[in-house]
Symmetry: C2
Subunit: 330 residues, 2 copies
């Protein structure tokens, strides 16, 4: 298997990317190859002194970089030699089986739609983020690929995220909840009300009905379906609030239990790790004709290693083929 | 001043309501009266043995109760003698200056729109919830009154919530952020993009631009504008996740610092109190022709006491008159 990784994407690129690839060697098969895409002058120094990297790493030059704040489509047009553009074109040409990027999410999503097209039967791709909670993993789809959703889009997010959650998180018949403002059938905006019937009538979806914001972290369901606007706000709030609560707890106990500060900080780290995006390492863009794994800009080497593992799993377990099988019957 | 309170609304009604009213006596002026609206047979036993309650409390009979799961408009039609309906009709008839309810939010919002109409110039009322964060109070509007928003609605939420935050939280020229999926001007759905111009061009709004989910708890702004669907999901997620993080921290330290469990629990309580909805005690439905304070179903006596204080403040500081002045110039 060949997996490409955008070496210029993350906040500390290419340092964490290269470290992640080196750490991933343990989970690779003998004939697996990782292709680092980006500025050779930036990548090579990170490999200096690493013996045997050539056995499983290749470098593909891409001299341009798309910044986090650039407008996706314009940036892709202006920078055909950017790491994201080159990575996606390699994917299109069959040079790699999967791609990983922590760069500009909008640009990677746009490039994937441009070069890889959609899987047969898919209306709109959606990003599915799996996050740990105290009740097990929860997969939220979509978290930002599609902020103007129609009911058919949300319905397919339920189908695709169920397949992903079952095959990658190992949960049989994952329970699917539709994010709304109340549990009752009558609660919700037009989009939610029209989506509910589609999800309820689909035998491929184990639909449990509406859920509320608080249910996201209560183990009520395994898959959360929402439009990309709500999903993005939600995901970033979880990140911000989680950090803020733990910081507050450490700061408070700094005064009341100063002699135990280390133990308190360790506890906070353990809890943070359970909500850490690096744990799952990357979120697939479900519905495109390829395996595109999107990483948080702050992903560290552990996160990139896990993202490469997720990419391998999605390929090996034939997630895309399963999605196509189900959607082509509908 | 006369303030009515739905005695049958909260999860433990009328116990917490009556206790809250009794506790509020300290903040009342000599000629203030609180009117408890609900089943006399349920309310009277709560006042048994309380000396002098007749000096500042009246009871208004309303024999029906609207349940939390009832459909608002239908329930109001079927139960004209419900505490929410009676409370709102007293408000309409000028018998009270403000109302407070922890009952079915949708029913109270519908009753208010039906009987109190809107303030001149207001398109849609919105619920403004103020919550503490580690960087001071933040007011989010709307959190569920209006889940199908237009740009003009969001614009007015920015205006009305600014007035409220300034007059009640005491922050001069509160910074207003528009909740979106990225800070850049190009980020957001159609609703957000069209709202941004309206907020930016309004001299009555100190608009700082788009904010993201994580910024809600980072002290980036004082007022957050969003549609009622996103606001409701957000508010409930803050509630659920906050509790879940603190519980996790206590559970973890239960093992690593068992001898300090009490200190740890105390720290968690202090932090929870900062995010506690009882702290602000109630959220005004801004834009209706009256002062309607909406409380969480789980509000305790402290929360009801604070809600009565908020109601008094909104009346005394002439929040509605200020909103009307500003909006009638537009």
């Amino acid at each position: 298997m060949r997996i490409g990784i955008d070496a210029m994407g993350g906040d500390r690129a290419p340092v964490e990317e290269v470290q992640g690839v080196l750490a991933a060697r343990a989970v690779l098969a003998p004939d697996d190859k990782i292709i680092l895409v980006g500025r050779e002058s930036a990548i090579r120094p990170q490999l200096a002194g690493v013996s045997g990297w050539q056995d499983f790493i290749e470098i593909r030059r891409a001299e341009q970089v798309i910044g986090m704040d650039e407008t996706p489509v314009e940036a892709l047009r202006a920078k055909p030699d950017s790491s994201i553009a080159v990575l996606t074109k390699m994917h299109r040409d069959g040079e790699i089986d999967a791609g990983v990027s922590a760069g500009n999410t909008g640009a990677y999503v746009a490039a994937a739609q441009m070069h890889l097209r959609r899987l047969r039967g898919v209306h709109r791709p959606g990003i599915a983020v799996s996050t740990s909670t105290f009740h097990g993993p929860v997969t939220i789809c979509d978290v930002g690929a599609n902020i103007s959703c129609r009911p058919q889009h949300l319905h397919q997010y339920g189908v695709m995220a169920s397949v992903y959650h079952r095959m990658i998180c190992g949960v049989d018949r994952p329970r699917v909840g539709l994010l709304s403002v109340g549990e009752e059938d009558t609660k919700g905006n037009e989009l939610v009300k029209r989506t509910r019937d589609l999800l309820r009538d689909d035998p491929n979806v184990n639909f449990i009905g509406n859920i509320e914001g608080r249910d996201l972290v209560r183990g009520v369901c395994d898959v959360v379906v929402c439009d990309g606007f709500v999903g993005n706000v939600t995901l970033k709030l979880i990140e911000g609030l989680g950090q803020s609560m733990l910081t507050a707890m450490v700061d408070d106990l700094r005064f009341s239990l100063p002699e135990h500060l280390i133990a308190v900080k360790q506890a906070a780290s353990r809890i943070a790790a359970r909500y850490d995006f690096n744990e799952y390492g990357g979120a697939p863009l479900l519905g495109v004709g390829g395996i595109c794994i999107i990483c948080h800009g702050a992903t560290n080497s552990v996160g990139f290693k896990n993202a490469l593992r997720v990419a391998k799993d999605v390929v090996n377990r034939r997630v895309n083929e399963t999605i196509t099988d189900i959607l082509s019957q509908q």
